[in-house]
């Protein structure tokens, strides 16, 4: 794997792990946070809603306090029989009631008896001390605002139109719920009367819509109102902006028993999700208490849950998007940095590959001054050095080649000349040898002893010369490349040995040597017969020359696997061990044998050359003072190997015997 891939994989995994954990944390945090925030929000809404619910009460109180100081009203309380004054006050209060859009505006005496009703002046003199608000004002001589429950009797007392109204908006309930205030009218600290003003909540939308509009601005989300508010009388919706399936305000429906139990019976607020008509709302219900602290109703504010959920989803999505966006940005930056760091390394790598393919001229562009830049520079330096070295080597190689060629040409010229000279020497030498021997051997008349000695010496020199010429001619042909190995499968005994033995018979007989020929008649060799004859002739003539007078010469041959091996052994002085290795070198000469004949130093070299051109090996072994043996091993061709196999099988099979 490439380094960059490794780093990339590593970094991507780190980023992914980081991103994933960040995403998980963000999600969890957002989730918790969103829920908590929503709950807080709803709690805030109910507080605000409660303030709005009660804000009118204070205004009513303020108005009533102003009215309580009205002199005509005070006078009327002192003199309740003054009908004219009563009429004046009634008209004044009727103006106030309609201006303030109030359902009830009553003036009571200090015992709680109604002295005048602005709405229905004719309905008078009933006592409304059932009203906890009134009871409280009488008891404490202080103003009291809040919500009170008006039973059927009281409603009827306030006027049939109001009773009718409440029945209409209360699903058969006969009671009504009113918010308002009562203020004592005091004179020198003494209670002289009470003035009460209030609005019926049943069927009224003013309060709940104000709450909704203040808190939610009558927004809609996904076709549903974002927030709703409801006032319950008991568990009955008497004022609401929750709409039912038909789009009407869901007045006259009831709260769930669970909520009623918690809020109405236990007097505790209720928070939670509530299915309002057909959407989930985060809801809060708080109890509405009358001045006697009795729970008489509930105020509900709901906030559309979907909005929070969607907000939360959006927030989470935004966060995830930011996390991943950041990750991608970080990765991009990282990869860009990696690229800028790695690209010189890659260039270096490519350059190294080119170098290994032999391109020494390629150079790396050094762009940076950091370690990699230095490395690139070192690389360039190295390739430059290599290039110079290579050029040097090439030059010296060319020089060597040239010299070699010169040497070869010189050698060939030399060999040609040698061949020519040798050839030209041959004929005169032939007659000289014949002549000298004719005289020496006494064919031309008697020879004196001194003459005989000289003639023997001349004859020996001529023989040496002759042998030298023969070898030089062979060598000359060999080195001129005239002798090509033309392999055939030949019978060794018949085609290689016989001609040479014939030629050497006189010398053999001369030294009274015994030739022991143990080569099987059918021994085959894969060789160029003419060349192999030179080898054999050389080895045999050496054996004769260096062999002991009257000694034994043994020739034998054996087929050994894929090698055809033959030996020429002679009894004699042998060759010192330290000289054995030198035998096959050109012009190597061992100490002359005792009979004084020296060699040309070429015979064995020629043998070695020929044998090696056949792909074979020649070697020698010797025991000094006893014998010397030469071994030639030649690769056998398929025919020979087959025959050897066949022979072996035959000899192993007793049946064919």
């Amino acid at each position: 794997m490439k380094l960059q891939t490794k780093i990339n994989i590593g970094i991507i995994s780190v980023f992914l792990i980081l991103g994933a954990s960040m995403a998980v944390l963000t999600f969890k945090w957002q989730n918790d946070h969103a829920i908590k925030a929503a709950e807080n929000r709803v709690r805030l809404y109910i507080k605000a809603g409660w303030e709005i619910y009660n804000s009118k009460i204070e205004r009513i109180q303020a108005t009533l306090k102003v009215l309580a100081e009205d002199q005509r009203l005070r006078r009327l309380l002192h003199d309740q029989s003054d009908q004219r004054l009563l009429q004046e006050v009634v008209s004044e209060l009727q103006v106030v009631r309609s201006e303030q859009n109030m359902d009830i505006l009553n003036v009571l005496d200090r015992s709680g008896r109604v002295l005048l009703r602005a709405r229905h002046p004719e309905l008078r003199f009933d006592t409304v001390t059932d009203d906890p608000m009134i009871r409280r004002v009488i008891a404490e001589k202080q103003s009291c605002g809040g919500t009170v429950l008006l039973d059927q009797k009281r409603l009827e007392a306030e006027g049939n139109d109001l009773a009718e109204w409440c029945r209409r908006y209360s699903a058969g309930e006969t009671a009504g719920m009113m918010t308002g205030a009562a203020v004592p009218i005091l004179s020198n600290g003494r209670l002289i009367g009470i003035i009460q003003m209030g609005n019926l909540l049943n069927g009224s939308v003013e309060k709940v819509d104000r709450i909704r509009d203040s808190l939610f601005e009558n927004e809609h989300y996904d076709g549903k109102p974002v927030g709703t508010a409801t006032v319950f009388m008991g568990d009955l919706r008497i004022s609401t902006n929750v709409l039912d399936e038909n789009g009407r305000r869901a007045i006259g429906t009831r709260a769930s028993p669970e909520v009623a139990e918690q809020v109405l019976r236990k007097g505790l607020p209720w928070n939670g999700r509530a299915l309002v008509v057909n959407a989930w709302y985060l809801s809060q219900y708080v109890p509405i208490r009358d001045p006697d602290d009795r729970v008489i109703g509930m105020l509900y504010i709901g906030s559309l849950e979907k909005r929070y959920l969607d907000q939360r989803s959006r927030a989470i999505f935004m966060n995830l998007a930011m996390v991943f966006g950041g990750m991608i940005l970080a990765m991009t930056v990282f990869f860009w940095i990696m690229r800028t760091i790695l690209s010189p390394i890659r260039r270096l790598h490519l350059a190294t590959r080119r170098l290994s393919k032999g391109n020494l001229t390629h150079r790396i562009e050094v762009k940076s001054r950091d370690e990699i830049g230095e490395l690139s520079e070192s690389f360039n330096h190295m390739t430059q050095q290599l290039l110079e070295d290579q050029l040097e080597i090439q030059e010296s190689q060319a020089e060597l080649e040239r010299r070699n060629h010169e040497l070869r040409v010189t050698n060939r010229n030399y060999m040609e000349l040698l061949g020519f000279v040798s050839h030209e020497l041959k004929s005169p030498l032939g007659s000289a040898i014949l002549g000298v021997y004719s005289i020496k051997d006494g064919y031309l008349g008697p020879v004196s002893e001194a003459q005989q000695r000289i003639l023997a010496s001349v004859a020996s020199s001529l023989d040496y010369l002759n042998e030298m010429i023969k070898h030089y001619l062979d060598l000359s042909r060999l080195e001129k490349g005239e002798l090509r190995v033309n392999k055939q499968t030949v019978r060794f005994k018949e085609e290689i040995m016989a001609p040479s033995i014939q030629g050497l018979m006189p010398a053999l007989e001369d030294k009274r040597m015994i030739l022991q020929n143990e080569v099987p008649d059918d021994f085959l060799l894969s060789c160029d017969p003419q060349l192999m004859r030179i080898v054999f002739e050389n080895l045999l003539s050496n054996a004769v020359k260096y062999g002991r007078v009257g000694g034994r010469i043994q020739i034998d041959a054996v087929q050994c696997g894929d090698e055809s091996i033959w030996h020429v052994m002679n009894e004699g002085d042998g060759i010192p061990a330290d000289k054995l290795g030198l035998l096959f070198q050109k012009f190597s000469r061992i100490d002359p044998p005792k009979n004084g004949k020296k060699g040309t130093g070429l015979g064995l070299y020629i043998c070695k050359e020929i044998v090696e051109q056949h792909g074979g090996k020649i070697s020698s072994e010797s025991v000094e003072g006893e014998w010397t043996r030469f071994t030639v091993a030649l690769p056998a061709d398929a025919t020979i190997q087959e025959k050897a196999q066949h022979d072996q099988n035959k000899s192993q099979d007793p049946g064919s015997g």
Binding site: P428, L434, G435, G503, P506
Partner: protein
């Protein structure tokens, strides 16, 4: 040998060689004639048939038959067919001539194939052998 002197025809282009061989052979009692070229040798043999022809292989001078070719011609000639031939040549026998040129009465009159330089003992014994 004194009674009927065997006549030997020496054929060689080397004057010194012819001289030496002639001297040796005459000294041991042969009658010797010579020729420097094969054509001349065949002429002489026809004019006065020798008992044996000692023949070189390679001849200098104008192109003509070599010793091998000459021995074939002798064999092919009805008059000369019976005359034994000994080849005595500077040619390296093991290298330059096919081994089949060994004496073979079936198709050639060559009795022996000798290589220069030769010692008198060997030459004389081969001649004696060839003459029977």
């Amino acid at each position: 040998m004194t009674k009927t002197k065997a006549k030997i025809l020496v054929v060689d282009d080397d004057v010194q060689h012819v001289d030496t061989v002639k001297t040796l052979l005459e000294s041991v009692g042969y009658s010797v004639d010579y020729a420097y070229l094969p054509e001349k040798a065949i002429e002489k043999a026809k004019a006065a048939p020798p008992d044996l022809i000692l023949l070189d292989v390679m001849f200098a001078g104008p192109p003509g038959p070599d010793g091998v070719e000459t021995s074939r011609r002798i064999h092919a000639d009805a008059e000369l067919k019976k005359i034994p031939v000994i080849i005595l040549s500077g040619v390296r026998k093991v290298l330059d001539l096919p081994f089949r040129l060994e004496p073979d009465d079936e198709w050639m009159p060559v009795k022996a194939f000798l290589e220069k330089p030769i010692k008198p003992d060997q030459l004389l014994s081969e001649i004696a052998k060839a003459l029977g």
